[in-house]
Symmetry: C2
């Protein structure tokens, strides 16, 4: 593949998505994030809401728990969505130089595309403030929401890549957005690109 891809893995609430968008503007390339969810929904037949909550989540139980969506080709709905997601990521990387947020794109494109692999993290306090500001409060505490989401992403990544999510050695650049700030992260990644 001739294109240059930036993959951004991110802790929930670390601003990885915002960094992707700003970076895209700065580099004049596209950033793919929710568009991938839309396409998975379109191609799978599942609703956007279902894809959004389930497509970066490891299956919590056996296929017997999901009898309505069970099909004969894939063991779980997640496997089914994973395959669609994988093809979308490969297609994007083949088509253009771009930024892909999440979706295990770092793993899917490993040894195939010319990737700058990035991980964005921040401490709990900073991330709590950010998700409350962006998504508001609800009955679950921000810390619990962060921990649940991180755990779920980590399990999902492990299941489909057999690699450890957030292991320093899997990324070319890892940045603490809580201390460095979103704008500085954008500058650093664009310089490295």
């Amino acid at each position: 593949m001739k294109n240059r891809i930036i993959t951004i893995s991110r802790e929930f609430g670390s601003g990885g998505r915002s960094i992707g968008k700003l970076l895209a503007q700065k580099l004049s390339i596209n950033c793919y994030d929710n568009q991938i969810i839309d396409r998975i929904a379109q191609e799978s037949g599942f609703s956007k809401e279902y894809v959004n909550t389930q497509s970066e989540t490891a299956p919590q139980s056996s296929i017997l728990a999901n009898p309505f969506f069970y099909n004969y080709t894939y063991s779980t709905n997640q496997d089914y969505m994973w395959n669609i997601q994988r093809n979308i990521v490969l297609e994007l990387a083949e088509k253009e130089s771009c930024i892909i947020v999440g979706r295990c794109a770092d793993y899917i494109l490993k040894d195939i595309a010319d990737c700058l692999t990035v991980f964005i993290h921040a401490d709990m306090q900073k991330r709590s403030e950010r998700i409350v500001k962006l998504y508001g409060e609800n009955s679950v505490s921000p810390i619990k929401r962060l921990k649940d989401k991180d755990k779920s992403r980590s399990a999902y990544y492990k299941l489909y890549t057999d690699m450890e999510w957030g292991n320093i050695r899997n990324y070319q650049i890892a940045l603490n957005s809580g201390i460095l700030g979103i704008s500085k992260c954008v500058d650093i990644i664009s310089q490295a690109y």
Copy 2:
């Protein structure tokens, strides 16, 4: 403390020391690395060779294994050297804005100084080539030398900081020097500083 410090933690053979030196030139500040070993030797009475091999190594056995160096204030020689090292790092950070390579400086200065904490890593192949080029071959394979040194630094860091060496969340910036290259790492860190 009013000074701004860059701490560089690094895997053996990743070029962290070279990055520190080049960064020092670029930012016109001092980089402290082997000078700290010299000072520990001077202040402890141990030889430079002994300090060099032992001061970033966790004690391998009980104090009974080191009866000649045993003293009544510290349990082990490493504890003794740790205390001297800690004071030197604090003194440097108090004195001037500078770069400190290794020595658990990130931990020693945590919550005390304004630090940019950096971790440099690279894959085994790149690090092997680097140590053979810099230090030559010997009877132990490069991979074994790397693994032993990483293990030793990791155990030392854990012992004195109770934190995990190379955990992505302990550093503001982590860079793969094997892929990005030494010069790009210098540019990125200087920009973040």
